[in-house]
Symmetry: C2
Subunit: 367 residues, 2 copies
């Protein structure tokens, strides 16, 4: 946070230009792409919208994978800009099956883009992006659809090697695994997406990535960027580089496994199974004798810990434990302790320490 | 700046909701409106675009006042979203004459919106927004066109009482007179604009002010806001309240008058005359024997002071002295000192101290 307190400098000056070029280059490493990464001053939704308005023209057909609130958002944005949107609603407890994507694409050559959610933070389900990308290879021929991925709540905490997996565009936000305060978001584009950028006819201005691309060549953004957040980004990228991407992925997997073992030991149902379990957020269901919303309130008021609630349709059905970015194994133990205290105070049968011990076992056996 | 270092909190929590409501209410005081003020995470251009996409439907006719780079931007945005744009190019050394606006509106009842720039920071010209607003009263009847004003580089530093002047929409950014780091911008809408919001057909999502309005009722923004910048905004609004709006306006006028007296004493030409002189930024021309760009470079390298250059068409024709937000009279003396040192080092005939003394005279006689 201290990095955000440096005096605001002239964002057109040489010093800031150097910094801007440096963070852009480092971000390519995080996205694992040789493509281009654009910084937008705005929330993750702004970056999602940038992907839509720059990669899809009005009237074009797109397939949107909907397994939760953020999948729904892709559809809302695409419809707002006149795309013909086909929504594929899959089970919210699971990810989208690549085989099903292959079937849908084979049946519809007109689809120009597939919009997917890497980590559906409303459900704690992580999609198989590698599988979904490969599913575009149909009987030896590649379907033309671009794969455009929302990784707002995962990039940096879970693998998404864009180029290696053949993903065309990835968007993320500053405040999740990238450990920067909210206010910046990012769009990474591979070559096929960069080509499309120039041909798409959707009206756009603030989010017109052609302007970002042109300005980036001079180390600038087209409009005044959130300068103090770029300073914070510099620091966060240095921290991520020091830890190493692979180590960050491993830390997130460890936290997932600790939380899930702890929750299981406490007898609460996990929203999703092992196959789709997210390394950055875990959703837990209520149980007979445990209403989610009163439980969250009690934990907040009595123990000062804010358990995230369900979003949209999930409200009242789950509480969620975020484990991304700055979080570490001790944070998981603290979260489980708060849950145990809350269960006891709610009169739910619980053996204090049981969840924590199970999490500790996972940690002890880790690697 | 310290305010921006508080730990990032849950932006859906009760504490942040209270803060969000509080700063929104205080902003109404700064805009001097009973309408609504929406906070957008994005640069001033995002707020300009929000005004366009929420207040004009494709195919509708708008009149854009162009007296510099930011007037041009209104036209670019409106065209990007399919409006029929009529550009009124007036002399870049002056503001737009209200009588001419009255003539243009009388001749064209189809115009639905007039886009104006309060303070054209590329030229240091401030428009007569009160006069332009009144110019819509034609022979006792009010022309239906909304008046939509970009006050990114003036609001808080120069009067713009929205309701009293009958202005329908005003946009501004966080980093100018509001003294917050860049990354937030604001749109204030009066009742006529709020009504139009619901009828406009332009496709929009991240900048759809209907969503901001709905979320604001619960003290929230529809998408994750730049939380640390909202903390900084709270502090800046407290500072502005302590100084008082009228005192802030007077301080900015004093700085303008000091700079202009100093520049005149040094024999350099001011870009605009007294009538249109901006209280927040002053543009100065080169002179025989003084090329603007080499002069700026010398002042930056030898004396460590960054004089802003011209933007767009103005590049190489002027340098600019910003005097907004945190700036005070001593900053104007420092700027004039740097200019005097630079002139002497450039071999331009200058009596060291002459500009500063003239500025001091203005200060001594102030009030």
């Amino acid at each position: 946070m201290r990095a955000a307190t440096r005096p605001v400098v002239n964002h057109r000056g040489a010093g800031f230009r150097e910094l801007y070029k440096q963070v852009t280059a480092q971000l390519k490493g995080v996205f694992q792409t040789q493509g281009e990464v654009m910084l937008i001053t705005g929330s993750g939704t702004a970056a999602m919208e940038a992907a839509v308005v720059n990669l899809v023209s009005p009237g074009e057909k797109v397939l949107v994978l909907v397994g939760g609130k953020f999948g729904e958002r892709w559809g809302q944005i695409a419809r707002a800009y006149g795309a013909e949107v086909i929504e594929w609603h899959y089970d919210w407890r699971q990810g989208a099956e690549p085989e099903e994507l292959a079937r849908r694409l084979a049946a519809d050559p007109d689809i120009v883009a597939v919009f997917a959610t890497h980590n559906e933070s409303s459900t704690g389900v992580m999609n198989d992006i590698e599988g979904l990308s490969r599913a575009r290879e149909l009987s030896g021929q590649r379907h033309r659809a671009l794969l455009i991925v929302d990784s707002v709540s995962a990039l940096g905490g879970a693998p998404l090697p864009m180029d290696a997996w053949g993903v065309d565009a990835v968007v993320t936000g500053s405040q999740k695994c990238l450990m920067v305060p909210p206010g910046l978001s990012f769009v990474a584009l591979g070559q096929a997406a960069l080509d499309r950028l120039e041909r798409v006819t959707t009206g756009r201005y603030y989010l017109d990535l052609r302007a970002y691309r042109k300005a980036a060549a001079a180390g600038e953004s087209p409009y005044t960027p959130a300068v103090t957040l770029v300073f914070a980004l510099e620091e966060a990228l240095a921290m991520l580089a020091e830890e190493g991407l692979e180590n960050s992925f491993a830390r997130h997997r460890l936290m997932r496994d600790m939380v899930r073992a702890g929750i299981r030991a406490l007898g609460l149902p996990l929203w999703t199974g092992e196959r789709w379990a997210s390394p950055t957020v875990t959703a837990v269901e209520g149980a007979p004798g445990l209403e989610v919303e009163p439980f969250r309130k009690l934990v907040r008021e009595r123990f000062g810990v804010e358990l995230a609630g369900g979003q949209g349709e999930m409200k009242g059905r789950v509480f969620r434990i975020g484990h991304m970015g700055y979080a570490g194994p001790f944070d998981m133990i603290a979260a489980l302790a708060a849950i145990e205290q809350g269960l006891a105070a709610s009169g739910f049968p619980v053996k204090l320490g049981a969840g924590i011990a199970a999490a500790q076992e996972v940690w002890a056996q880790w690697k």
